[in-house]
């Protein structure tokens, strides 16, 4: 069942249109993650759903009800802000209670909900503290608690973990995943963090410039990116793109590129000869040169992470300078290369994604 539906939603700030004709469906009991580059309008969409911004055009429905003119409080949402936005002069307990009093709940129910949320988030010892007497992680949990106790139809999270350090972020991420299981709530979650997006999401929506580039399950988007942008945005380090020529003879053809031997390909939607790019993820190449796909280049840097190495190289036939167009391979263990820096890599052609110069994916199999 759909819980939040956006129909043709546009948002203008002054004359600049940040969001144009956005259509989006958020299913009930799912966690939908919005990802996209900075400034693409993720927060703006979230704030429109919350009612903190008015949409310039289009309709927003929550649980079937048109909410365009409904104030934030009456939309049945709860929001966790990146800055937490706790009430600084209130204790943790009062922070959680503030919204419940507005809901006109009986006192016993209020107490019960706060106690339950505090228990779940390990906040019980801190109920009488003010936000400034808490650590960053504890404040974050208070912000979550304040949303939880409202038992909203939809949770809205705007980069809730981005102010935490790496270790704490991992812990809270697991915590959120655990809460999700026990609550089966509907949530929209905005993040920059790939790992958060991949691990928490039932559905990922990739946005760019206020438009949806692709939506789907995390693995769907990882394995079947709809275009070059999504392919490069999801995955870290990002996918490599190798300039190549596609030569079709009937439904079958060849991809030719300078740093390796041609690949056989079937791409039924195209014919003739095209300049293309093929994409391959850093984790999908290996030192096994018996694989059908081959790439040669010169290594210019190796980042050794212990369990794996990130090998940066310039493929043969590409500019031999700078990071632009450089190729990254994620290889297991600690890699050493000869003094000439030459390295040959192998890959499985079925891992290859083919893109038009315009960025759209070319349906193909190898």
């Amino acid at each position: 069942m759909a819980s939040v539906v956006l129909q043709n939603v546009s948002k203008k700030f002054g004359k600049t249109e940040i969001i144009q004709g956005l259509n989006l469906v958020v299913e009930s009991n799912q966690l939908t993650v919005f990802v996209g580059p900075s400034g693409c309008g993720k927060s703006t969409i979230l704030r429109c759903i919350a009612g903190l911004e008015e949409v310039s055009a289009g309709e927003i429905r929550i649980d079937g009800q048109l909410v365009n003119d409904v104030p934030p409080f009456r939309r049945g949402i709860a929001m966790v802000f990146q800055s937490y936005a706790l009430y600084p002069h209130m204790t943790v307990y009062e922070n959680m209670r503030f919204g419940l009093i507005s809901l006109k709940l009986p006192k016993a129910e209020i107490e019960k909900r706060i106690a339950h949320a505090a228990e779940m988030l390990a906040l019980t010892p801190y109920l009488q503290r003010k936000p400034k007497q808490l650590s960053g992680g504890q404040r974050q949990r208070v912000a979550m608690g304040r949303a939880l106790v409202r038992q909203p139809k939809v949770f809205l999270f705007d980069e809730p973990l981005s102010n935490l350090d790496a270790a704490l972020r991992t812990r809270m991420r697991v915590e959120i995943a655990r809460l999700r299981k026990s609550l089966s709530a509907t949530a929209i979650y905005v993040t920059h963090d790939q790992v958060e997006a991949m691990t928490l999401a039932d559905k990922i929506v990739v946005l760019r410039g206020g438009k949806v580039e692709q939506e789907g399950t995390p693995l769907d988007i990882y394995h079947r990116p709809a275009n070059r942008f999504v392919a490069s945005f999801i995955g870290s380090p990002a996918m490599n793109f190798v300039p190549a020529r596609l030569k079709m003879v009937g439904p079958a053809g060849q991809i030719e590129f300078e740093s390796g031997s041609p690949l056989e390909v079937k791409a039924p939607t195209v014919s003739g000869q095209h300049e293309v790019e093929f994409g391959i993820r850093p984790e999908h190449v290996s030192l096994d040169t018996n694989l059908p796909g081959k790439l040669r280049g010169k290594v210019f840097a190796i980042e050794k992470l212990g369990d794996q190495s990130l090998v940066h190289m310039h493929l043969d036939g590409t500019p031999q300078k700078g990071m632009d167009g450089a190729f990254v391979a994620r290889l297991p263990g600690e890699i050493e290369v000869g003094s000439d820096g030459e390295l040959e890599l192998g890959f499985d052609p079925s891992r290859v994604h083919l893109f038009e110069t315009g960025g759209a994916v070319i349906p193909s199999h190898f």
Binding site: G51, P71, M79, A85, Y87, G99, S102, R146
Partner: protein, 316 residues
Amino acid sequence: METTLPNSIAQDIARASFGSRLWNFFRYSRVFWAWLFLAPTIVTLLIVAGRPLLGTFILSFTDAQLLTLKEASFVGLKNYIAVLSDPDWWIAVRNTVTFSTASVVLETVLGLAIALVLNAEFRGRALLRAAVLIPWAIPTVISAKMWTWMYNDMYGVVNAAFLAFGWIDSPVAWLSSSDTAMAALIAVDVWKTTPFMALLILAGLQLISKDVYEAARIDSDSKARVFWSITLPLLKPTIVVAVIFRALDALRVFDLFYVLTGNKVDTGTVTIYARQRLMEFQEFGLGSAASVLIFLFIGAFTLVYLWLSRPKGEQA
């Protein structure tokens, strides 16, 4: 191998190291440098404020008159008893307290309201913010003079307006009658100082993070509740400071009363009283005692106020 240094050299080293130790002490002592940089201010203040204050304090225990300053003799608390048993003094105290309370309360409430308006987003906000400050930018003596004319019973604009609206039947001498003088003076002070209050409170309002208001909009749809439970508590530190600034000014008010009502006892404040004793009656001892009392009175007020408005229930 051990060698013994000649005595003189050993002494040199001892001396040198003592000297450099001393030098290092001054060099690295933050307290020393702090005092050094503060010294000019402290010395200046001692000369221009400390010395006259001390003089006033000493004079208040003597029977000094302007012409007999040199041969004044110590009279103990006599001046203080005289001031405290003077009904005029108590009238002045009552006037001062009435004026300060009424004007500060009105200015705070109006200032808060104006600040809330100026904090909202609308076209021409910058212009309005600047315009609001005009009354405050005019020197008190000038605005006092201006209001004297406006209050004038023959050709003042206030009477003209009130007559036109039919609120009064005949022109009123606002400043001469002690019934209306206080209200008239409070009105002038409110007109003049509300902008200052509004600006201070506006600065405080802008310190409150926008996110907190947005969280509140999600948590409640009662604007009144958000005002009372969020805005006002978060504004409290600002208001406390603003009120103390204003109260100190109001308690020491002089120019407004001096220009608008002159030396009249029944509408005078404690500063008018002190000035009268000092300059007109030339009773330096008595006037000084009154001044010291004003000083103590305001000091005590400040302490009580700060104590009452201290943040409660906060652990360090």
